[in-house]
Subunit: 180 residues, 2 copies
């Protein structure tokens, strides 16, 4: 089975986006710093990416498609004709459950899967499919928004592996999920 890996930024109060999905508060600090906080290096380590419909709807509005690796969009409602033609061969749909999808990706030879988007990350975490995550904290309190973390039946214990602080005020930590 491949392992799931998260690379995500949140406000200090834990939101990945405003209620509308806006990430202006995140991207505004980005260009002036002139680097990517390790994102390209992280992308080198994964075989591809799994995201939810919310994240897909967001990233497909960007001027350029961000990902060189294959992307699986998990959705029960999207159909193949909803995928813009320029993304043919780059993006495919899946209506499988997380563990079922990971088993499929395993058969295709994937070892490490980038898992993205609040709801998808939450469901993969609940199902024990996340190995570790890189969490970058942006120094702002939004007060409301789409949360990264959600409910689960029992505590999820983590090992803190590394924290790096950036001039921009971003603080990035790597955590591994402890095996039960």
């Amino acid at each position: 089975m491949p392992t799931g890996h998260v690379f995500i930024a949140t406000s200090l109060d834990g939101y990945i986006a405003r209620p509308s999905g806006a990430i202006d508060w995140l991207v505004e600090g980005w260009p002036e710093v002139g680097h990517d906080y390790g994102f390209a290096e992280f992308m080198e380590t994964v075989d591809g990416m799994v995201m939810g419909r919310g994240t897909f709807d967001k990233v497909k509005t960007f001027d350029t498609w961000l990902y060189k690796k294959p992307v699986v969009v998990m959705s029960r409602t999207l159909r193949n004709e909803d995928i813009p033609s320029e993304l043919g061969g780059k993006v495919r749909l899946s209506d499988a459950e997380p563990a079922q999808l990971m088993a499929e990706l395993d058969r295709e030879g994937w070892k490490r899967v980038y898992v993205d988007g609040g709801k998808i990350i939450q469901s993969f975490l609940r199902d024990g499919l996340i190995r570790d995550f890189v969490l970058t904290r942006i120094p702002v309190l939004l007060g409301e928004g789409i949360p990264l973390f959600g409910a689960h039946a029992k505590d999820i214990r983590l090992s803190h592996l590394k924290t790096t602080s950036y001039e921009s005020g971003f603080v990035q930590s790597l955590y591994a999920v402890k095996e039960e």
Copy 2:
């Protein structure tokens, strides 16, 4: 006017306690490490402490009273006879609004006020009365609980000043609230 300062720990998903108020997940990592993550040093810098009723109800159940400095409990329902007699002279009640209380403490010569408890911290933050906070992240996801942060009308921007990682996996960051 005195300045408000926060020193608090949360789970990685932002909770200061379980829904019941329990902080077992926090204190269990504490003794084996054998230090206080800078708490005593922080307490030396403040003139006293303001807390809400929820925090007071919690800390008064501890075997020993934790604070050498004066404590103000903000409550509109507690009465003086609700304060245990052994805390006479250490704890007093206030039903004032945050800014009004800060003005009172100013007249008493307080310069730096330790502000504690989820709801109280949120109301002081909303009213612009917090200067900085020390936030210690415990490496566990609780999934539910009493959140540190709450809603506010506009973004609160912060400056990241320092982050320290501990062997225990606790990650402690100091943030200052940016003046608007």
